[in-house]
């Protein structure tokens, strides 16, 4: 028996295997792990190895019995701690995204309007921080934000403040850390859309009576929308689950969901509850991604 009977068949087989490859990847490294996490979230914690109850048990009559429970999810709904943690994460992620957009837009615009070869140099500078370990850069912020740090000393030096202000271990430090870390993810997609923007469109809008601010609102902003959405998602999604930055720079009160997850998993060793927290986090993230997909498809219709 031969499947590969003629070249047409072979072609089709080749094509479908090429298409299958990304699905295989997603299935293996995303869907399967998620299924496992979801499965654990339906279990009960045990002091055992592994530290959760099995999904299937043997009932008294000897048949297999589903032992799944929604207790973990119910618990998350009841305990205010988790709600606060989710909301705080969403708030921090949203504000950080907005700050990145406000900072990143003019930067991306300026880069896109800079003549070569300066433009490539500026782009290189945007990407440059990635050449150093992320953790090292966050540690550097600890030093800079401290009471004796660069920022306090600088502000004291020019006389804006009389005594050091507390920056480290506050929400401000978390915002600084997240915005600093994720700003390139905002700038790069924005740059790509702004760079393609036809300057004749600006001139045409001005020619038709659009004042500079109107031209920005009517032409630049809508034309840059794909970049704005892509950049915002690239900042919002990792910021929402961010663990390292709030752990290192944030105070005890800046309990983001990433930290909660960590605590449940490593401190309390409550794997099922931690899995439930992760599952809900995923659903919070899926919403904006689906929105993005919808918006991306719209112009093609």
């Amino acid at each position: 028996m031969s499947i590969i009977a003629n070249p047409g068949n072979r072609d089709r087989l080749w094509r479908s295997s090429v298409i299958a490859l990304p699905y295989l990847w997603l299935g293996l490294f995303f869907l399967a792990p998620f299924a496992i996490v979801f499965k654990i979230s339906l279990a009960e914690p045990l002091i055992a190895q592994p530290p959760f109850s099995p999904l299937w048990g043997i009932a008294e009559d000897g048949t297999r019995k589903l032992l799944a429970t929604l207790d973990n999810y119910l618990f998350l709904l009841e305990d205010k701690l988790y709600w606060v943690s989710y909301l705080k994460s969403i708030k921090i992620a949203l504000i950080s995204t907005l700050l990145c957009l406000l900072l990143g837009f003019p930067m991306a615009y300026a880069i896109a309007r800079t003549p070569q070869p300066w433009r490539n140099l500026l782009l290189l500078l945007v990407i440059l921080p990635f050449w150093t370990s992320f953790l090292l850069r966050v540690y550097a912020w600890i030093i800079m934000l401290g009471k004796e740090g660069l920022i306090n000393n600088g502000l004291l030096g020019i006389g804006i403040i009389n005594e050091p202000i507390s920056l480290l271990y506050t929400d401000v430090a978390v915002y600084i850390g997240i915005v600093y870390t994720y700003l390139p993810f905002m700038i790069l997609p924005l740059y790509t859309t702004l760079e393609k923007l036809d300057l004749d469109l600006h001139d045409a809008a001005a020619d038709l009576g659009g004042k500079p601010l109107h031209v920005f609102r009517d032409i630049t902003l809508p034309m840059a929308m794909p970049g704005i959405i892509a950049g915002s998602l690239l900042v919002f999604i990792p910021a929402l689950g961010e663990f390292v930055i709030p752990a290192l720079l944030g105070g005890l009160d800046s309990l983001m969901i990433g930290r909660t997850l960590y605590d449940e998993f490593f401190m309390n060793r409550d794997w099922p509850l931690a899995s439930a927290v992760a599952t809900i986090l995923l659903f919070i993230l899926i919403l904006p991604i689906m929105l993005f997909q919808r918006l991306q498809q719209e112009p093609q219709q």
């Binding site: 036809d198 004749d200 469109l201 001139d203 045409a204 809008a205 001005a206 020619d207 038709l208 009576g209 659009g210 004042k211 109107h214 009517d218 032409i219 809508p222 034309m223 112009p299």
Partner: protein, 387 residues
């Protein structure tokens, strides 16, 4: 369309008469000693120009001659380094583009891709804060004018190049500007569409009476569209005149060459007459009395130009004192159906190009390769070229 056809067609005259010759008329657009210097180059060099109401004025030149910069200064996108620009007696030199009574059709059309056809046309009217009902009315009027009524709701990416061009035109005309600027309006269209659009543009301009200023690098486009043409080179105007004037009376070799082919002979001035100069051609020693409005000092080196279609080609010598005659051999010929182009090697060894109408109906060629021929032209057709 061939060079010779073009001359037989009436010259388009969209505005009434010839206001540039009438001293009682005041120009509608006045460009006074305008210069534009960039860091390393002068794009427009001390240019002055008067354009009259209702003209379809064309600025013609090769790439980098400064024509686009001049247009952008008219639109308000570039401030002139020096000089003033007036429209309808109002100094608009320092006026931002969004306040000028001028609209522009861009070479790229610059149709807003995220807006429908109707929204594109309405954009300028909305900025003018017109009432909704009036905007709607004006948009419908414009859609009808450019025959796009059925496409009102389409997005630009669902339109053909020609349709996008009409959207750009409608959008620029919607505000009823005093002046419409057109940057290479036909360049992006294919040949057939270009000819059709050209006549549409002329008709439209005739109906609306708006003053059009067209920038182009295409001499054919300039000739067929314009009431007057200004030929621009290296930031300055070399010659300004009607299509007929710049074609038949080019002031120098560059202009002559820009508008079609011309045979050029080096010559020396040997005398001046009443509205004429007498010259001797270097190669053949032939003496010609050519029409010229001003005297040139004897011994000056000049050039004499003769257009290929002004030359007569025949196997027998023509009679008549007005003719300058030379002999030669047909070295090459090209049959176009309506005409033939001959390349004749004269007895002095140089190649002279002749374009002749095929006024007889015959499947055989009237002249063949290596035929001995006489070339002659009416002395009145000799053009004195200053350089």
């Amino acid at each position: 369309m061939t060079d010779t056809d073009k001359n037989n067609e009436p010259i388009s005259q969209s505005c009434q008469g010839t206001p540039w010759k009438d001293e009682t008329q005041t120009p509608f657009i006045k460009i006074i000693e305008v210069s534009k210097r960039f860091e390393d180059a002068t794009a427009v060099d001390n240019v002055s120009l008067d354009i009259y109401r209702g003209e379809l004025f064309t600025i013609l030149g090769g790439s980098g001659c400064g024509k686009s910069t001049l247009l952008r200064m008219l639109a308000g996108f570039e401030p002139p380094t020096s000089g003033r620009i007036f429209i309808d007696d109002v100094d608009i030199t320092d006026m931002p583009p969004y306040e000028r009574p001028i609209n522009m059709m861009f070479q790229s059309y610059a149709v807003f891709p995220h807006m429908s056809v109707a929204q594109n046309i309405a954009y300028g009217l909305k900025k003018e804060k017109l009432a909704k009902a009036e905007i709607k009315e004006r948009v419908e009027e414009m859609l009808e004018l450019v025959q796009l009524t059925d496409f009102a709701k389409r997005k630009p990416d669902q339109l053909s190049g020609g349709q996008r061009q009409r959207v750009a035109l409608a959008r620029a005309l919607a505000k009823r500007p005093k002046v419409l600027l057109l940057d290479e309006p036909l360049a992006a269209l294919d040949k057939k569409l270009r000819e059709q659009t050209q006549f549409e543009l002329m008709n439209l301009q005739d109906r609306l009476g708006t003053t059009f200023v067209v920038v182009t690098h295409d001499q054919e486009e300039a000739m067929t569209l314009a009431t007057r043409i200004a030929v621009m080179k290296e930031g300055s105007f070399i010659q300004t005149g009607t299509p007929g004037e710049v074609y038949e009376f080019p002031c120098n070799h560059y202009v002559a060459d820009f508008f079609g082919n011309i045979n050029v002979f080096d010559a020396t001035v040997i005398g001046n007459g009443e509205g004429t100069v007498e010259v001797e051609l270097d190669t053949s020693g032939t003496r010609i009395i050519a029409p010229h409005h001003e005297a040139i000092s004897e011994g000056s080196r000049i050039q004499i130009g003769v257009r290929p279609e002004k030359l007569l080609i025949s196997t027998e010598a023509p009679t008549g004192e007005q003719y300058t005659i030379t002999r030669g051999v047909v070295e090459d010929l090209a049959y176009y159906g309506n005409r033939c182009v001959y390349r004749v090697r004269s007895h002095t060894g140089r190649i002279i190009q002749v374009s002749a109408q095929n006024y007889q109906r015959s499947a055989e060629l009237l002249l063949e390769w290596d035929d001995e021929v006489y070339l002659s032209w009416d002395t009145q057709c000799s053009v004195v070229l200053s350089e």
